[in-house]
Amino acid sequence: EAAVTQSPRNKVAVTGGKVTLSCNQTNNHNNMYWYRQDTGHGLRLIHYSYGAGSTEKGDIPDGYKASRPSQENFSLILELATPSQTSVYFCASGETGEYFGPGTRLLVL
């Protein structure tokens, strides 16, 4: 079973602050994804990556940056967090993102 881990699992941030969400996978998958999950919207793709050094914009990239420094790690960065970014964030890896991490609950006050 592919292992995808996320840190932190819970985060409280202040408006205007910088937030970094980290994701690690140990199955050598090329593709990694960041989603946010909100009631009424389902899972929406923020950024994704095809391998180390690559990042691609998903459907809702505004306000987010991504970084893929290695095959295993994929970070989501909120440079200036806003309350509208309060959500649950999931990382996934695999050919089409079949393997999801446990999620990070982010609250921006």
Partner: protein, 115 residues
């Protein structure tokens, strides 16, 4: 652009009754892959089943779905609901060759099974 529609936001059923969750999609590409994910509370979403073959039934863990390209549908079914089936279910689409692995999710259907 590509899209997935799950019309029912909430489906409430009594245990033992059949389950059918609707999923329709739009894509201009013929090589569509369709997926169902299940998301139990406090767990990670996980792949339930997937298909790219027209008119072929795909089964997993008691659930089944058949991709019908003529009607652009991929409905999820189960013959008899169990309490443990209560979860959020997502239908998703990928055109593997064009989108290179990018999934497009529907809004999700919450399935609630009552005793």
């Amino acid at each position: 652009g590509d899209s997935v529609t799950q019309k029912e936001g909430l489906v409430t059923l009594t245990e033992g009754l059949p389950v059918m969750l609707n999923c329709t999609y739009q894509t201009i590409y013929s090589n569509a892959f369709l997926f169902w994910y299940v998301h139990y509370l406090n767990e990670s979403p996980r792949l339930l089943l997937k298909s790219s073959t027209d008119n072929k039934r795909t089964e997993h863990q008691g659930f089944h779905a058949t991709l019908h390209k003529s009607s652009s549908s991929f409905h999820l079914q189960k013959s008899s609901a169990q309490l443990s089936d209560s979860a959020l279910y997502y239908c998703a689409l990928s055109d593997r060759y064009y989108n290179q692995g990018k999934l497009i999710f529907g809004q999700g259907t919450k399935l609630s099974i009552k005793p």
